[in-house]
Symmetry: C2
């Protein structure tokens, strides 16, 4: 029966000596032998336990849980694995969301590359902003602005477009809940700031540089002028429209140069 020193043990398992010290100290893996000079000596049994530890570590189990698992022979491993699986899936989902956001942002920054088919451009939310903007705003600000917006939208992927729609809808819901508050409250203005960011993507970020404040105020005015844009559950919401236009005008005056 041969025994291994810390270093040999570490090399065998591909971990550091420090790791073995730590495992010893926390009681996760204690060498069965200590020489007179307190040198640690590990035997086969401990090597096998270390392999098991590393297996669970590979699965991202925290060390304390590994200890519980290994020290309770009757532990329900399957349940532990399945619950661990769920947390990993949640992580994976979150990462996929992050990746989407990055893609959107990069595409936004690069002024986009992928083209949407034209017929996919106007649907759902498009009625609320893009088409509204198209039909009405062109009267006031000229066709080049509308053309720019359509071009920008065309550069989004379908997923990005859908996601943007969802964001705007969420934003609108939050704003509607505040319609009886002060339009210049921080809470409202924070939501308006987000609203502006979303709208800006619909518009496309480049161009319009000088006229952004004016254009955004114009969109706010549009909500007041045409009740179609603030229909909720089939009812026009003139107060909400007024609230929005005030909040947007304040934001434009104070944050857009």
């Amino acid at each position: 029966m041969n025994a291994y020193s810390v270093q040999k043990m570490a090399k065998l398992a591909g971990v550091s000596v420090r790791t073995l010290h730590l495992y010893d100290q926390m009681g996760l893996l204690k060498p069965s032998i200590r020489t007179e000079a307190r040198y640690r000596l590990y035997v086969e049994k401990e090597l096998l336990r270390l392999q098991q530890i590393l297996f669970y570590k590979e699965l991202d189990f925290p060390l304390k849980e590994i200890q519980v698992i290994l020290d309770n022979p009757g532990f329900d491993l399957v349940e532990a694995l399945l619950s661990h699986k769920e947390s990993l899936q949640a992580k994976q989902y979150r990462i996929s969301m992050l990746l989407e956001t990055i893609d959107k942002t990069v595409n936004h920054l690069k002024t986009g590359t992928i083209m949407l088919k034209p017929e996919e451009l106007y649907e759902g939310l498009a009625k609320e902003t893009a088409e509204a903007y198209r039909t009405e705003a062109s009267k006031k600000y000229g066709n080049e602005v509308v053309a720019h917006s359509e071009k920008a939208l065309g550069k989004l992927t379908k997923e990005q477009f859908e996601s943007l729609k969802a964001e705007l809808k969420e934003n609108a819901t939050a704003l509607f809940a505040l319609k009886n508050e002060n339009p210049i409250s921080e809470q409202t203005q924070n939501l308006i700031a987000k609203h502006y960011e979303i709208i800006r993507i619909f518009w496309g970020t480049s161009g319009l540089s000088d006229k952004q404040a004016e254009a955004y105020k114009g969109l706010g005015q549009l909500y007041v002028d045409d009740e179609r844009f603030t229909f909720i559950d089939g009812q026009p919401q003139p107060e909400y429209a007024l609230f929005l236009s005030k909040a947007m005008a304040y934001f434009a005056d104070n944050h857009l140069k």
Copy 2:
């Protein structure tokens, strides 16, 4: 112009007071006003910066990088985002591997549930172990063992089966590299332990309980008896076969009750 206390600021942005203290201390977000009593007062400008910080934090950027990004207006955001994307994708890949491993393990523990179609059972690696075992081992150990093995294999999903094949191949490569070493060295025995685990899945984990050591040694002897099982690049490897059988026999005698 209104200013916010730490608490108000924290609530507005949905972070803790401690977080603001920390950001202040590390210079990431300093309040522009400090009262006589050293109370922190934040203004709009800082609220906007905090929003930006939170945006990048959402993307899992470390705070120090966020600081660099926000303090260097000319920073190449696109590049930073793309490199960040890569690290996220690597994470995602790793998680998907972990999930596969968990699935395999759970299925292993539960003795499997999903059935593979029979015609998918024997292909590629099946030649190296299952079929080998089938054609030869049944002479020595009887048909019930072979039947059990086929049943176990049938309970793996195709993905699991493929993955197992890959693992065994990797294991075999590692073992082949050690063919001139001592069969009972720790290094070899560790690989053999893994080999045994993989083979055991092919055999199915239940049953065979008492005869595992004998059966495993039998498989080792098979490598010596029939050169077909150790063909590598079209050449039989009798020395490798002998090395394997010795290593397996030693493992069986010392670790399988």
